[in-house]
Amino acid sequence: MIKVDTTHKERIAQGDILRDIEYLEYVREENGVIEASKILFPLVIVLTQDCDLAQDSTFRASAGSGEKKSQDKYLLSVLVAPLYNLEHVYLGKHLSEIDMQMQTIDRNSTQGKNLTQNVSPRYHYLEFPPEISLVPSVIDFKHYFSIDVKTLNALHGNQFVCGVSELYREDISQRFSSFLSRIGLP
């Protein structure tokens, strides 16, 4: 079980869990009609390094004053990953609403146990304390996207759920970066 902090902070922090975040899939224009497709994710977790988020916030707050005249520390976007319901993941149905069938995982199999013990490199299992009203969830490290910093800052106030505490968020970050940098040997 992880530890979380429900205190809402002024800025976005690594490990923050936010609800109802949209991912823009595409925008097309054809014959004068614009079509935009978005995916609404019920929950996402912030993966961007916390020091980068802190510097971004500090420099934006004091823009133009003193040593902070440049935008050198500004971020363009924040990296997030969706949280999926563990039970839906077992069934391979967590993306059924967007017409994606995922592999099923037998909870009693080695694969299922590896998932909840965070042995499987692709997934990160999160079990929240009882006082946090979130179901057991899974991050799939193959799924991540970025959100414009200003947009996320605007949403942060209303859509903040909780923040994963330091040691646990760093574990997520380390496992995510390890998965991204894996080398597929022949």
Binding site: E25, K38, L40, N85, E97
Partner: protein, 78 residues
């Protein structure tokens, strides 16, 4: 409990030790439709006074869904 829930998530709930068979205990359930809500439900003790026998229901929460937005462009012919 939300009436429109598809599923409910009932975590381990144990009646107080020594509770009579008729004593009601409180179970905490999370709404299937909303990841963030916790609501309470009264559950009567089952055959075992010390334990409420509710096995895992399907844990529920919203799934990602797609939203399409279409808008026409008004061309200025002037």
């Amino acid at each position: 409990m939300s009436s429109d829930s598809d599923y409910v998530n009932i975590s381990n709930k144990y009646a107080p030790s020594g509770a009579s068979s008729t004593k009601a205990v409180t179970a905490v359930v999370s709404s299937a439709k909303d990841n963030n809500e916790i609501e309470t439900a009264m559950v009567s003790s089952a055959t075992d006074n010390r334990k409420i026998e509710i096995e895992n229901q399907k844990y529920g929460s919203a799934k990602p869904r797609r939203i399409l937005v279409r808008a026409g462009i008004i061309h200025d012919q002037g």
